[in-house]
């Protein structure tokens, strides 16, 4: 299956989807040192974001989330990419800052169709289409 979206931060990434049903606030919701989810209201409590393609409906919470996201990317504990159904400027800012400071790219994709979000465990590959759009190849087989 392929999906299309727009890049808020452009780049390529491949990994296994960690799909959250509820939006995650990085500030107060993620421990930057370990990359683990510490928000007790998340079903994925305790799961590590590292190497994952983080999939969620949207972002949430304080603008300090930009700092926490950027700090996880710096430490290598953050996700490889973030895929959402609606845009979140706080996520965009965090990823842009990490790219600008450290040259580490964590692409941020907003899908054109909200109902298309990849499922947990899907293998997702993100590439740049010729027209600049985000092209996601989603393989439901687990890695």
């Amino acid at each position: 299956m392929t999906l299309l979206g727009r890049f808020d931060v452009e780049g390529e990434a491949t990994g296994v989807a960690l799909a959250l049903q509820q939006p995650l606030s990085f500030w107060g919701g993620v421990d930057a040192e370990s990359g683990r989810i510490i928000d007790p209201s998340q079903l994925a409590l305790g799961v590590c974001l590292a190497q994952k393609i983080l999939v969620m409906p949207s972002g949430r919470g304080s603008s300090s989330s930009s700092s926490v996201l950027a700090e996880t990317i710096r430490r290598g504990t953050g996700p490889r990419a973030i895929v959402m159904a609606s845009p979140d400027p706080i996520i965009t800012a965090g990823s842009m800052v990490a790219r600008s400071l450290y040259g580490i790219v964590c692409p941020v994709v907003v899908l054109y169709k909200a109902e298309d979000l990849p499922a947990d465990g899907d293998c997702v590959s993100i590439t740049v289409a010729p027209d600049g759009a985000a092209l996601l190849t989603v393989d439901p087989l687990r890695e």
């Binding site: 107060g28 603008s63 930009s66 979140d88 400027p89 706080i90 800052v97 941020v108």
Partner: protein, 418 residues
Amino acid sequence: MSLILHDTDKAILSGEQGPAAAFAHQILTAFAHSVNARAMIDVSGAHIDGCLYHGQVSLDFVERLLALGGRVKVLTTLNVGSLDLIHPEIMLQDKVEQVPLRRLMTAHEELGCQSTYTCAPYQTMFRPRFGEQIAWGESNAIVFANSVIGARTNRYGDFIDLCCAVTGRAPGYGLHLEENRIGEILFRLEGFNSAELERDSLFTAVGIIVGLKTGDRIPVIEGLPRPRDEDQLKGLGAAAASSGAVGMFHAVGITPEAETLADALGGREPIATFVIKPADVRHALEHLSQARDDSPLTAVCLGTPHFSRGEWDRLLALLRLSQVGSRIPIYVNTGRETLDSLNQSRSFDGVQHFDIRPVVDTCTYITAILEKLDGVVMTNSGKWAHYAPSNIGVTVAFGDMEDCVASAVAGQVVRNAR
């Protein structure tokens, strides 16, 4: 609907105003794209919420701007940091731990920011004017600027506020634009007696209720009493921005863009209407306290957002009136400018029977200042009561300023002292 960059923006991006402005504008452009802004606009001021240390990245960002020769382009004030630089002796972190926290604050000064270190920049000489386009961080300051002053800012924060300051540009969307400043949800106060309307805590409670019910929309509040001063509106806004994501409110007949209900709603019908009754206020305030009356008191924390000169005058008058003093510390967060003016006018004379501890540049709920965290801490701030339990692990009792003073004297939580 895509972003169109002006020649000014293209020039900044191409490095005409130096590599730091280009670096900042790249981040700003991605942000503007993400919020579907159609153009960038000029801003004449910024307030930066970047002095709180969230990890190495906080410092790396500012150091990079400095290394690129960066300098803020507009009048820029600073929000609180993690340390009280004027009273370093009250900080409980060890000296090594303080190094990056202090560097983060001074590095912002080197970028040309004013060393205000206050969450209430609207109380300083740098207060913006009605209609001014600004880029502010810090939730209470944003809601105050939009609602009480009528200046225009979105809810900016980490990195983006500084990118605006370094470029003098901001994404032209949301509350910067006239058409997005119209109220959508109506709250009507009903059934309050005059004593209930006089309390500061009424404003706090209304703020909490409004924040919980409006999310990030714009509330219109009808039936509020004429506030005694701006501080009551400050308390309302801070509470609303703590319990919800409110960036602006209208109070009919009180705030500048809400002369009438029709003005506040832009002539439209509200999307929803809620009635606030005395029982709702009591309920909201009960939720701010985890401690019962008569619980032993460890400390009192006032000044979140930072105590104004007017609040100090009311507090000091209460303390002078009290025959009996107290050894329970009363921490009061305030701005440097305000504390200077108090010291100059010898305002602390006659209150030596109390243990008043002014705290500047930071706030007692975000850093290590309180000596004792066991027992109950009392506050008159809805914002402090909302965040302190999770931030620093204290048990909170909420009450008006009069109750806080009476509780300090009694050594235990006392309510309805007035």
